[in-house]
Subunit: 322 residues, 2 copies
């Protein structure tokens, strides 16, 4: 904890004020069956029930609303084939800023359509020959657009931190908090809220075993990378932590653990059968860690962030059809 | 509205007191996308997030807790292959009363197991040769058990009415309320709460087209029946309204409409993709009626009871795999 952190809890508080009445204050759900099973008291923060189906809306709106408040005439540009694309698109529509999203031409048609439905201009590229970061930077310069990165930005991190702030306000202090980790934006924001509102809470980031770069970075203190991991947790396929999230995760988080894709399918099945909510694979990283006993939670009050619910229903046949 | 009604709103209030702290006060969710689409303001009462996954817990617990409070030494018996079985089983466990459930031997293994998991004794029968009502009545007499019917009982109706009571307390007065109708227990209880808390609200029951007995009963004023309707809405496969629910539905409800099974699949898909919650076919009867414009809702504040979320995930492949 030092004054040199790029984002502080006060930034999360300011983000919460911007998001008030715009983002859903998502419900916190519990399951007595699970509590009995794991001998703990578990609180699920249901960001799958957030607008556009994921916590990503929080960070995107926090960033774009500040651009709009400054009277920016330029729009926003983002590169994403996932939830960040729809988050920036929706935030653009709500703030009146144009949103341009760079997406691979082989992205699922349903995701391209959803992003356009929110009013964004979608620019597709051939991922075999184009590096998306370079294309987005080039378009940002040519068109005078603000690049909104998916996680490595103070406004994004601060916005994502508002979910755990709400969780702690509603559930009270926790002993353990399990947070999915892709690029580390959600995890970094979450740990700020936890340190401020529940100082004794152990904060653990969870990654898929196939995309364990942040866990290795955490263990070694050096930035590790992973290339196109084949995990079903598409929100955690990021190659590495960022310039801001690397120091935040390694300095503030208590531990990092990994779970297998099989454990993710089992946790998704449990969540849909017992909690009756739709979750994407990345969303159940924390629950899978709890169910697999990758962390000790016995007798504890445990918070789990269910990060999103954007899945193609056709996938269900592959996961649950047997 | 007459003093001769077998259940009154005050019975719903008393049921709510019994259920306080035992049943979940389920969330009321909204969708701006849907509101734009149908030009209305829609409030979903999410009973799919109720304990054991359906509103049925409310009525069963209201019935069994009164038996237990009277110091009954005898347990409860019920016949059901659906949500009522698990509801009575769970209510039995919570009240300390034994629960015996009569289920067809060809019921899905997962439902038989779930009912046993809640601590009930399951007695199976061959539906080709045995009439379940007769078997249950015989067992009730032999073993001195209280028969808890699935819908046609004042305690069941009063308990089911607590869901819409909560909805109106949270959302405020409504112009239109859409409620699934099987045996009419939920619909009868709901209309009591609506009349008391939102007198101007139009209450409409919704049935699957293939199981339209209550709609025909409502239109003709005579009790109509249907035999083993092949609808996917398994909660609405009941053959007829009951002795209590027939007069309540025909006297108190404003209208009855039907929807096709195709409309149910479309409404389930929408609910899972956009609301991110798991619903069973019966749960979306009201939403399907709204989406199909089977009722006029323009400019209205509309309540929809999503009655349950107990589906076998294997079914998803058939419904959403294409």
């Amino acid at each position: 904890m030092s004054a040199s952190l790029p984002v502080e809890y006060q930034d999360v508080v300011r983000a919460a004020i911007r998001l008030d009445g715009v983002a859903h204050r998502t419900p916190v759900l519990t399951s007595r069956t699970l509590d009995d099973q794991v001998a703990a008291r578990v609180f699920f923060k249901c960001e799958n029930l957030q607008r556009m189906g994921a916590f990503k809306f929080r960070g995107a709106y926090n960033a774009l609303s500040q651009l709009a408040a400054r009277g920016s005439a330029s729009g926003a540009i983002a590169y994403s084939s996932g939830n960040h694309a729809q988050a920036v698109a929706l935030a653009g529509r709500l703030t009146g800023l144009s949103a341009t999203i760079v997406m691979p031409e082989n992205a699922p048609a349903v995701k391209l359509a959803a992003t356009r439905d929110y009013g964004a201009e979608v620019i597709t590229y051939d991922p075999e020959v184009i590096v998306r970061e370079e294309l987005a930077a080039q378009l940002a310069a040519e068109r005078d657009l603000h690049l909104i990165p998916p996680f490595d930005h103070p406004h994004i991190i601060a916005g994502q931190g508002t979910a755990v702030r709400e969780l702690l306000q509603e559930a009270g202090p926790l002993d353990l908090l399990l947070v999915p980790c892709g690029g580390g934006g959600l995890l970094s924001g979450s740990v700020l809220s936890a340190r401020a509102l529940s100082p004794g809470c152990r904060v653990v980031g969870v990654e898929p075993e196939l995309g364990d770069d942040a866990t290795r970075s955490f263990r070694t203190g050096k930035l590790c990378t992973v290339k196109n991991p084949a995990t079903i947790a598409d929100g955690a396929r990021t190659s590495a932590l960022g310039e801001l999230t690397f120091p935040m995760v390694t300095q503030l988080v208590d531990d990092m653990v990994t779970v297998t894709d099989d454990a993710l399918v089992a946790a998704m099945r449990w969540t849909m059968e017992r909690m009756k909510i739709v979750v994407e694979p990345t969303a159940v990283l924390g629950l899978a860690a709890l169910m697999e006993r990758a962390v000790n939670a016995e007798g504890m009050r445990v918070g789990i962030v269910l990060s999103g619910g954007n899945v193609d229903l056709k996938q269900f046949a592959a996961w649950f059809g047997k």
